[in-house]
Amino acid sequence: MQARVTIEVEAAAERLRGVIERACTGLVQREVAVQLVVLAAVAREHVLLVGPPGTAKSEAVRRVATGLGGRYFEYLVGRFTEPAEIFGPVDLQRLREGVVETRTSGMLPEADIAFLDEVFLGSTAILNTLLGLLNERVFRRGHTTIACPLRVCVGASNGLPKEPQLAAFSDRFLLHLFLEPVGDPYLETLLDAGWTLASQARGGESTSDDDALASLDALSEAATRAEVATIRPHLAEAVRVLRGAGIELSDRRVVKLQRLVAAAAVLDGRTRADGRDLWPVVFAIPEPADQDRARDLLRATLETSRNVTLGSAAENASLGPLARAQRLERTAEELLGMELSDDPTARRRWRLRLEGVARELDAGFPPEDRPESLTAVRARLVAKLEETAP
């Protein structure tokens, strides 16, 4: 029975891995955002993306939604946005009968995945209704009370709100990710990807996996039943370390951390959480500076972090060698599998990227402490570099 459950979990995790890979194709340095949206969806939690405009926040979420299928709702919230624009208009026919009902078709209450840009600009009426929807997945307005299918809501903002009532609202987004514009060394890749993206949009290319949403639900279900008892003392210790350093984590967040840890485990194809799955703790810390401190404070605890589906997020949180090795292997395989271009500039750039992987691999892992799989990948990298030497 346990073996069958594990096989099902592995298969579902693999399907979501495909969704993530497709969503990340052509997106530069947004793997962590994509992976955290999936983690939150499996944990039935929500994500807040904080970063300047134009950092592909909406694109990342839209791609996950496309890959997962299901109904997607996206809205740019403004100071004058009416609740009806997000939740649906009042049903006038029913109003004449003295009943205040909302027509929710195509609106947030019926969405599987939602993205609310500039979410903190919403009015009190919007934010209060959202609170219920995010917490209980129930939409209540007038005489309308409906259960919502929402898997994950992603909020976006340029910064964290300072006002206490808005800070309380932002606390409902368990995962916080802080995005920066793409770094200078990746500008060519960004330009390339942006161009390809635009061509795909013109061609109407998009791919979704019909069973992906079902796999997501299966993993969510598996996460609620996952074995987390053995990891609990380690989680408690990590929280003690953070609180001891003055990093605030509300009791609500601490309790919910277990869901993230369980979700990380099932996305790695396991039904029992262990030390490899503690890394989401870092993203549950609300402030960016505290997240950085947490990476340092928990360095030893997070050293064993890894996740076959969420490798970039695990690496970003833990800065651990195992997660780094996983990413290097993946990147190397991707580069080795590329068809070589006849264009000398393209070939040269491809070689430089190969060299970049080899450099990071050599610098990060002394030969005697290199995982076997990484040693094998390195041998192929070196052979390819020699074979294609100018």
Binding site: L319, D362, A363, V382
Partner: protein
């Protein structure tokens, strides 16, 4: 200049991986030169370097620059500045058993003429000053290559 310091073994890097330079020893120096000559002028302009004087054994060369501009080659030693003492570069993954500033002072006491920034290569016990690091000029690289032919 050579100095033996115990407890400087390489380990897999935990935390941020900083690669600020590359060192080559002995026969690898020639391969480093050959690899640098493949760079275009724009890429070379992002790098600086130092090399041991003619006749030094083993021959050593160090190239510094942004990570993405550094050359890769077999047997290169990747160097990173110590987070607590940026004037000292060690092979990546080597964590000194004492604070960086203390180690730098010890190196300077041992080699007073070596002006920081310094590179310490524990495998060969080399201490290399980067104070004289210069931009890499294609002509100079070519001459050095030819001198080894």
């Amino acid at each position: 200049m050579k100095l033996a310091i115990p407890g400087l073994q390489r380990r897999p890097v935990v935390g941020e991986l900083r690669i600020d330079g590359v060192a080559a020893l002995g026969p690898a120096v020639r391969r480093l030169l050959a690899r640098l000559l493949l760079d275009d002028d724009e890429e070379l302009a992002r790098l600086t370097g130092v090399a041991s004087p003619k006749g030094a054994l083993p021959e050593v060369a160090v190239v510094l620059g942004p990570t993405d501009a550094l050359p890769w080659l077999e047997e290169a030693i990747h160097l990173g500045r110590l987070p607590d003492e940026p004037a000292l570069l060690l092979p990546t993954g080597v964590c000194p058993p004492l604070p960086g500033a203390v180690l730098l002072r010890a190196l300077r006491a041992h080699a007073p003429r070596a002006r920081p920034p310094l590179v310490l290569l524990p495998s060969t016990q080399h201490v290399i000053s980067l104070a004289e690091a210069r931009p890499l000029l294609r002509e100079h690289l070519r001459k050095r290559m030819e001198a080894r032919a």
